[in-house]
Amino acid sequence: MKFDFKNCSEEALWKYVASHLNKKGIDTVLVGGAVVSIYTKGAYKSGDLDFITTNLFVDDLPEAMAEIGFKKTSKRHYEHPECPHLFVEFPPGPIGIGEELNIEPDVMNVKGAAIKILSPTDSVKDRLASYIHFQDRDGLDQALLIAKSQPIKLDAVLKWCEREGAIDAFEEFKQGLEPYSK
C-alpha cells in the first residue's frame, strides 16, 4: 500500500522513514519535538522529525532517503514533495541530554524493523534542557504535556536536573504537574 505523505502524522512518518532506514542498515533514534507529538497523540504539532543516526559513519543516507522520495535540501534537511507539513532533519550525534550520554531509547518493532525513539522520561529531560539552557518556555510546556500523557520516572528527571544545576526548573516542572497528580 502506498504511503499517504499528504496526510501523514509525525508518528506515521517516523515509522515509515525509520523502518526503511533500518532495513538499509541505518540505525536511527527519533528525538526532539516529534517525540512530544507522538507521546501526546498530536496535542503538540512539531512540523519536523529529528533523527539521530547511531552509526558513526553514514555515507549513503541521501540515496536511502531518495528511495522513499525525499530530497536533500540542505546539509541535514530532507523534504518530500508530497509532504509539505513535515520535513526530516538529521542533527549530529551522539545522542546526549546535557551531561547524560548513555541514553537507552525505547524500541518498537515495525514490520520486522526495530525502530527507536527517546523514552518519555528522556524526552521530558530533553525538553527541559531547552527550558534550562535557552530559557525556552515552550520546552517546559512540552515536558509537562509528555508527563501528563505518559508515565515518566520523576526521580530520574530530578537527578538529571540536579546534575544540570537546575533544581529550580525541576520544581517548576513538578508544580506544573500538581493539578494532574490529584
Binding site: P91, G93, P94, G96, I97, G98, E100, L101, A129, F134
Partner: protein, 114 residues
Amino acid sequence: MLVEIFGNKTAAMVMLYLYHYGEAYPTGLAKDMGITLSQVQKQMDKFDQAGLLVSKKSGTVRIYQFNPKSPVARKVKELVKIFYDGMGIEEREKLFQVRRRPRRKGKPVIGRSQ
C-alpha cells in the same frame, strides 16, 4: 596545539573567542580578531553543522554560542578552557580587547576599545 587540533587558526580563534565572550556574531568576531568575514562564517557554519554551536537571530544579526545541550560541545569547551587558561593575562587582554559585556549607556571606557 589548539590550531593543530581544530585544523586551522580560524577555527581555534573562533573557539577561544566564544569561550572568552560566551557568544559571538560573525561580523564582530571577524573585526575583533582580524579575520575575514567569509572565513569566520564558513567556520561557524561547520561548527554549527557539527552540533558544537547553536545560533539565534537577534534583529538582523545571527548570534552563536556553544551548544549547552550537547555533551560533546561541553567536552570541547572544556578542551578550549585548557588552552584559554594556559594563556597569560597579557595575551588575553591583547587578543580580546573589545568589551562585549552589558555596559551602562554613555559610560566611558578607558584603555580599551568599545
